[in-house]
């Protein structure tokens, strides 16, 4: 994961509703047992859709801010 950043998932806030799994355009996320996992992290484009859709604020993308 060192050079392939993926969103952070806060398991404590996550209620495993599966919304993020459904909305991810790349099919990165999956439900497994009682949790959400990044099943295909290398496909993540860091689009932020999962963060925007999570009703519980359990997913967060972080950004480095700089000049182009």
């Amino acid at each position: 994961m060192a050079d392939w950043k993926i969103p952070q998932l806060n398991q404590e806030k996550c209620v495993v509703c599966g919304i993020c799994v459904d909305v991810c355009p790349q099919g990165v996320l999956a439900l497994q047992a009682e949790e959400v996992i990044f099943a295909r992290p290398q496909e993540c484009t860091y689009c932020g859709t999962c963060e925007e859709s999570c009703p519980h604020g359990a997913v967060a993308c972080s950004y480095e801010i700089g000049w182009a």
Partner: protein
């Protein structure tokens, strides 16, 4: 009088006999650049249509700053709303930017024309609806204004501080907390900045593209 009625949106599709009737009530007015045409709060005596040139509709903000509500060009109309009010007062100031050629119809005459021609009333309603929609957009921008200003300042500070001892990665939640707002608003404002070409999302990087524009936002000049 040789007036190009087709240039004016409200009159564009009206039949010739109606245009002739409207022409009978119309006056042409040439206004030099940078000249006030209307003052807010004064009695509304006429409606105006722009044949040539541009007109700014402005209000003074509480801080005494002139806020441009709309910049209107050829074909647009202004001072239409107070025509329908019981106590008709101009809602805003209007002044020309460059030289302008205006068509002016007195309030009473305009009301009479509307009574006589339902088609004109429809054209007017369609035009006002379009203008209302653009005002809703403006209201939204104004509501977001403090966030836009603070966010622009924050982004510039962060980008300028790269390499210094600052937190490197920011979530939208972190930024929201820093600016005293909520994540959704930060997300929406960032997306808006992106649409406006001020920033670009590149995976985990937010790249600032337009220093001048961001700086003028941060300074409250926009």
């Amino acid at each position: 009088m040789d007036i190009d009625f087709a240039a004016i949106e409200i009159f564009r599709d009206l039949p010739a006999d109606m245009i002739t009737a409207i022409e009978g009530f119309s006056q042409l007015k040439l206004v030099p650049p940078d000249t006030p045409i209307l003052w807010a709060g004064m009695e509304c005596t006429a409606v105006y249509f722009i044949l040539e040139g541009r007109v700014d509709i402005t209000r003074l903000s509480i801080q005494g700053r002139e806020q441009v509500l709309e910049r209107l060009g050829k074909g647009e109309a202004f001072n239409l709303v107070p025509v329908f009010l019981g106590k008709p007062l101009n809602p805003a100031d209007a002044k020309t930017i460059g030289p302008a050629e205006l068509l002016v119809i007195g309030r009473e005459d305009f009301l009479r024309l509307l009574d006589r021609y339902p088609v004109l009333m429809h054209a007017l309603a369609a035009y006002l609806a379009k203008r209302l929609l653009s005002m809703v957009g403006l209201a939204e921008r104004l509501a977001l204004f403090p966030v836009r200003q603070h966010l622009a300042a924050f982004l510039i500070n962060q980008a300028d501080a790269v390499g210094e001892d600052v937190a490197r990665y920011w979530t939208q939640e972190d930024i929201a907390r820093r600016l005293g707002t909520v994540r959704d608003v930060v997300g929406r404002t960032l997306r808006r900045f992106e649409q406006e070409g001020l920033i670009r999302f590149q995976r985990e990087h937010i790249q600032l593209l337009d220093r001048e524009k961001l700086q003028s936002l941060a300074d409250g000049r926009e």
